[in-house]
């Protein structure tokens, strides 16, 4: 019998202090690129070890080599420059990319493959390949070159597709293409879907798209047409109100739902019971074989201890439900 309610994470993990120091030293030219890589690899080892210890099912590598999910690609691809920091919330800032020319991979074909391979070598669990979707890269950049959003999104879709194919060729069974911006303009949902179709075309892997902090009411049920195998949606942040929305439409049989059950922007660690209650509500809407469980979003904004505790609660909630319901 297949295992039910598989657990996973969305992507980023908090960077250990040793890596934060190494990144700072590298910026000041006090350590070499090789030394920074070693610090990243050591941090990745800790991320993998934590997931092993908690008995998570599908792993992430933790994105120790990335600062921001959009800026990372913009820094390595051609056609972008960087702005001074722009705030996204609280005291969080990012160097918002500026598109100043035609975008291309340049010398960065297979940019994400090495980090994925090194993480995969540390575990027997599958590790997701992590990409940012073309619509989100466009939306979270300043466009100072392309005549319209569509032409930029479609050029980016081709680049993300090539990166996804490189991950698949390297052996990634799961490839996640994050599109958190997809709900921002409901009138562009079709464009985002068209771009995702380019990304996932002939991609020999299970495809996932993570979407969070959006007005889902404006994009359902159209979102179900996004050509990926699994939608990974944030729910705990809004006390699982998302589930009331999802309940309005039949859940598509061909799609999985990865449900966010812990709020990654709150210091408070949820109780096992409240997480279980959220999962139970989801099970009324989504068949158990289609449901996976994870945090709302990447964990990088939490401390290591908070991230660990939230994952522990999530895993315990799932294990208790498996036991109560006689599931594997």
């Amino acid at each position: 019998m297949a295992k039910h309610l598989l657990t996973t994470s969305v992507g980023s993990f908090p960077k250990p202090n040793t890596l934060i120091t190494a990144r700072s030293q590298f910026r000041r030219a006090q350590i070499s690129a090789q030394q920074l890589r070693e610090a990243e690899q050591e941090a990745t080892r800790q991320v993998i070890a934590l997931q092993e210890a908690l008995d998570i099912d599908i792993f992430v590598h933790g994105e120790m080599e990335r600062g921001d999910m959009v800026a990372y690609f913009a820094e390595n691809w051609q056609g972008f420059s960087q702005s001074l920091p722009v705030r996204s919330y609280g005291n969080r800032y990012y160097k918002k990319p500026i598109v100043e020319n035609v975008v291309s991979l340049g010398n960065s074909v297979g940019l994400t493959v090495d980090a994925w391979k090194r993480a995969s070598e540390l575990t027997s669990h599958p590790v997701k390949g992590m990409l940012t979707g073309p619509y989100t890269i466009c939306d979270w950049s300043f466009n100072a070159y392309y005549p319209d959003r569509r032409s930029l999104v479609m050029d980016l879709a081709q680049l993300v597709h090539e990166e996804a194919m490189a991950l698949a060729r390297a052996g990634a069974q799961y490839i996640q293409i994050d599109e958190p911006a997809i709900s921002t303009r409901p009138d562009e949902l079709e464009l985002a879907i068209e771009a995702m179709a380019v990304v996932t075309h002939n991609l020999p892997a299970k495809t996932i798209s993570h979407i969070c902090y959006g007005d889902f009411e404006t994009i359902l049920p159209g979102l179900y047409d996004l050509p990926v195998d699994q939608l990974d949606l944030e729910a705990a942040n809004q006390h699982f109100a998302l589930l009331d929305l999802l309940a309005r439409y039949p859940w598509p049989k061909s799609k999985e739902l990865a449900l966010g059950v812990v709020d990654v922007h709150s210091h408070r660690v949820e109780s096992v019971d409240e997480v279980k209650a959220g999962i139970r509500r989801a099970l009324e809407i989504v068949p158990i074989e289609n449901l996976l469980i994870d945090p709302d979003c990447g964990l990088k904004t939490r401390t290591w201890e908070e991230a660990e505790e939230k994952l522990r609660v999530m895993q315990k909630a799932v294990e208790e439900i498996r036991q109560e319901d006689g599931l594997r």
């Binding site: 702005s83 001074l84 920091p85 722009v86 705030r87 996204s88 919330y89 609280g90 005291n91 800032y93 918002k96 500026i98 939306d139 979270w140 300043f142 466009n143 100072a144 911006a181 709900s183 921002t184 303009r185 409901p186 009138d187 902090y213 959006g214 007005d215 404006t218 942040n237 809004q238 709020d263 922007h265 709150s266």
Partner: protein
């Protein structure tokens, strides 16, 4: 023609100088004291106000440097309202903590007035405060207490009247009600309800101007409704909806208009000649004294160097037009 900014300003300034961002980081690590953090906020606020003066603005905010987000001081000043989970602010990669209402609204005051008094005492430009509009607040809050929008709106109006009364004694000359929710495509509020609510909100016994700022959508939908209110200005986002300029070039409003012609969400710099070309027909129809220009929304969506350049672009255009 007059110039203003809309609300927020980057908390990191271009060039060297104090940084709210690094001060918060240092504070959280225990490296600076609460007093030092407080003084950093004050110093950055003063620099924003100095910039408003050097750009020859006719009205400015304090840049909302102390504010976590648009709701922050309002939430601090009300009992039974709490900062809750992050939500995306409309179509931006920018997130705010939505107000969570857990009991009947009660005004305590203190924070907004104190922050505003400090800014007004320093500013050489007449100061306004940009607050969340009634309907933007209603759309983005989470109500676990009232269960009835009419009752919630009535109390919200009441507590905001108190907030405005408190502000009037601080040196602030204008309250700008930010209503992106009305302009945004999914707005479902009726014209009569909006009109009635704002009529009730504006207390004729309190000497302070009221304006409404519409951005990130179709401002034109609300011009008729809002121009019947005793407002000092209706600000429109002509970047999101360029057509509003055509309308304003033909229909004269009863109140002053603000034209958000400078894109506060893109680093592209506008050409002054082009801005003058699109503003002039509106100026002819509305009149010099009743036309303002400003960025399309708060400048915090831009990197600090570009925010500064766009403020100075306002100065440049004003000089050329008024010459």
């Amino acid at each position: 023609m007059k110039t203003t900014v809309m609300g927020s300003y980057p908390k990191i300034l271009a060039g060297s100088g104090p940084s709210v961002r690094s001060a918060i980081q240092r504070f959280e690590k225990g490296l600076i004291t609460p007093t030092q953090l407080f003084e950093t906020y004050s110093e950055v606020t003063r620099r924003v106000l100095d910039q408003a003066f050097s750009a020859n603005l006719d009205r400015t905010t304090d840049g909302q440097i102390r504010w976590y987000d648009l709701f922050d001081p309002v939430v601090r000043d009300l009992d039974n309202v709490h900062s809750a989970g992050l939500i995306r602010l409309f179509d931006n990669n920018f997130y705010v903590r939505h107000p969570l209402i857990t009991g009947r609204l009660q005004y305590q005051g203190g924070t907004l007035a104190a922050w505003s008094r400090e800014a007004a005492s320093y500013s050489r430009v007449p100061l306004k405060v940009a607050l969340p509009g009634l309907f933007t607040f209603l759309d983005l809050q989470e109500d676990t207490s009232y269960g009835n929008t009419d009752n919630l709106l009535a109390d919200l109006i009441d507590v905001m009247r108190l907030a405005v009364r408190h502000l009037a004694s601080t040196g602030v000359v204008e309250v700008q009600w930010d209503e992106p929710s009305l302009a945004y495509s999914s707005s479902s509020w009726s014209a009569s309800r909006v009109q009635e609510a704002y009529k009730t909100l504006m207390d004729p016994e309190v000497e302070i101007e009221h304006s409404i700022a519409l951005y990130w959508g179709k401002s034109s939908l609300w011009l008729d409704t809002l121009s019947q209110l005793p407002l000092s200005r209706i600000s429109c986002d002509a970047v999101s909806e360029p057509r509003v300029l055509d309308i304003l070039a033909v229909d004269k409003l009863n109140v002053a208009v603000g034209l958000g012609v400078i894109d506060a969400r893109n680093v592209r710099m506008e050409a002054p000649e082009e801005l003058i070309r699109i503003v002039e027909p509106v100026l002819r129809q509305q009149g010099d004294e009743r036309t303002w220009i400003h960025p399309s929304c708060g400048l915090e969506f831009l990197p600090p160097d570009r925010a500064e350049q766009k403020i100075h672009l306002l100065r440049n255009i004003k000089l050329r037009i008024n010459a």
